[in-house]
Symmetry: C2
């Protein structure tokens, strides 16, 4: 494998980085596979399927018991995606497809308003609770139904996925629509989340899009991720920018969400591989590493949830907490970045973030992982699922890391992009 | 003073409570006065007055330096109220009136949309940033302009205060208006915050309201605070209820905000004194004490920010944090409850909450108080002011506690209501 002591970092002239052997990589991949298939997926199969009303119960306590029955469209859709994806990409299991079907049918029956916009939440029976104010509901619904249609050939699901995708492309310039509280004109903002998630949805729907449309949309999204949001000096992404591309010295303009920035780079790395674009991969790795250096808590370990780019107090009171998805998305970005570029810092950070993640998030007693730790890494909320944590980031992260590690072990070398 | 060992709580037959002497009470009152006049008010006079654009800069770092210039209408209005109130109730100082005037003029010039609704935030120059989605902006604006008009006789301010009050009475049934994301019909909710703040605004505007209107609105608010929100078994207030008065086993329905419930009881105690209603005062004290017992962190001290009534994980990631306003409102409720009812538990809890509050929130190095501590009582954000913390809860709480303590010391006995 690639080894460059200067790049890897040295102390007293000795390289600090041990390169992983194929055997080591296979062993780690096996750990991810066991967590995915022996713990996480069975936990959601056992506890979350609502056999009475359809869809999923995602508010699960430490032991999997249901503590609330409201249904959040983000999480309903993400669970459909996860089970469909495992069926499509890992192993054809009818039981997984049945779980996906139960969610897809609930979504198709209850999830949209008359204009085809996806509600934010529903009650247990499917009656709408919270209006379609979030374009991300539509993003996750499109991903879910497309992946389900790919698994089953279900034409209704495919059609609704396509309609939803067209609808969100039309809405992306004004994602909150009439629910926006911003007074027009004073300070028009754009959000990193929009091109980032759209890149991911587009990538997910590739199989059902016209190639020209796919290339055009994906290219635009990649440009929109970097151009207005990247601080060129520090190589970190801001969450918001002025719509004319200026950086803003305001709460929104200064906001950094390290996990989000690194997750965006994981998506960009996937696109770089697809396009065979080595320069894009190097660029994404650089941003991911600089973001991680900035976001890492040198006192207690783990990655902060929010930071202010100028070091001012962020508005988010939860800024110092350690969240499961942040760490999983970071692991994906690091192992993918290592495989594609061979950059040693990716591997050393992967090992460091792994140690923190596996040492703090899993619950060995009741299974699955905690989602919310305080700054010190102590459990802040014992839930396994809630309004925002469902069957998504953890199984997806485990699956993707496993695949990356297996590919690394197979190829015998990092730096897959020439 | 009233002493009932059974009520006060005993151990081995001995009362645990030491009753405060007049000398002790005077000494504590002096501590509050010094913090108010020697520290907090000068801090805001020195750092927050925007002499260039008018209004106040409320985003102040630990040392008072300005780190953001956006202007939040809640905080602009609250600071106008605070300086006007001190002028009206504590001491006639022209310098305080000038500070209030500078804020009132900025609000009158920039604060409202064409329909007379108050924006949520403005940029430094006064251009609107965030639309009038929050009825509480109107509440604080009405309080501010009324108190300012009372201090100055300013007819324009008085008129706008009256219009705003009428407007918010008209809006109270649908406080979020077109910004509500709730789908109508599925689960109509009402919020404790609305009658609670309306009771306070009505009380504040008493001098400019028709007596019949004052009595009617105040009576309705008191009823609406208790009826739908009180859990009759535990004697604690929920934050939300179904609009038909049912308790709801949902995230919103289970939500407890102990500081909010106790603050509501401080307002109710004020009304009980006004009406000479001993039973109402006893009832409010009971709720405040039961809420405090439930909300007190037995491990690290201090009062939790949010709890779930059934002990489930709350949605609020900041649930375990210790906030300045929670502790100040609690001190006000306890000392006022003690003065009005003589209930010993109020005094013992006052001493306990005092010890925590004075031991954790003040910043002896740079002055003023921290607003946000983590569960252990460590500083989470070093700010003295931000989007939500301004010149309001701290000076008001210090002023009100000081007054209550002075009255207690003067009268020589608690239990002011016969």
């Amino acid at each position: 494998m690639h080894a460059d002591p200067a790049e890897a970092g040295c102390r007293d002239g000795k390289p600090l980085i041990m390169e992983p052997t194929a055997e080591h990589l296979t062993g780690i991949a096996q750990k991810y596979r066991e967590a995915l298939l022996g713990d996480v997926i069975p936990f959601w199969e056992r506890h979350s399927v609502d056999r009475e009303f359809g869809g999923f119960l995602t508010c699960l306590g430490r032991d999997g018991s249901v503590y609330d029955t409201d249904k959040f469209v983000w999480l309903q859709a993400r669970q459909v995606w996860t089970f469909s994806m495992l069926h499509n990409r890992l192993e054809r299991r009818d039981s997984w497809l049945e779980v996906a079907r139960q969610g897809a049918e609930f979504l198709l029956r209850h999830g949209r308003d008359e204009g085809g916009n996806w509600y934010f939440s529903l009650d247990r029976g499917g009656r709408p609770l919270v209006a379609p104010y979030s374009i991300f509901s539509d993003c996750f619904a499109a991903m879910a139904l497309a992946e389900f249609a790919r698994a089953t050939g279900d034409e209704a699901a495919r059609k609704v996925a396509g309609q939803t995708y067209a609808n969100l492309l039309a809405r992306k310039g004004d994602p909150k629509g009439r629910y926006s509280k911003a007074v027009p004109g004073t300070r028009p903002l754009v959000s990193l989340a929009v091109p980032m998630i759209l890149a991911n949805v587009t990538r997910e729907l590739e199989w059902m899009l016209e190639p020209a449309e796919f290339d055009r949309t994906l290219g635009a999204c990649v440009g929109e991720v970097f151009t207005p949001f990247l601080d060129p000096d520090r190589q970190v992404l801001h969450e918001h920018a002025a719509s004319d591309g200026r950086k803003l010295d305001t709460f929104e303009g200064r906001l950094l969400n390290p996990g989000h920035g690194i997750e965006a780079m994981a998506f960009i790395l996937e696109i770089a591989e697809l396009k065979g674009d080595r320069a894009l991969a190097e660029r994404a790795v650089e941003v991911a590493l600089r973001t991680l250096e900035l976001g890492w808590d040198r006192e207690w370990g783990g990655i902060f949830y929010f930071l202010d780019a100028k070091g001012h107090p962020p508005q988010q009171l939860e800024w110092d907490q350690k969240l499961w998805w942040v760490h999983l998305e970071t692991l994906v970005a690091l192992v993918r970045g290592y495989r594609l570029t061979g950059r040693q810092e990716c591997w050393s950070w992967f090992e460091r973030v792994s140690a923190y993640t596996w040492g703090h998030f899993p619950d060995p007693e009741f299974g699955e992982w905690y989602g919310y730790l305080n700054r010190r890494g102590e459990v802040l909320l014992p839930l396994k699922g809630g309004k925002w944590k469902g069957c998504f980031h953890l199984p997806r992260g485990l699956y993707l890391c496993m695949r990356e590690l297996e590919k690394l072990a197979e190829s015998g070398k990092a730096k897959a992009l020439p």
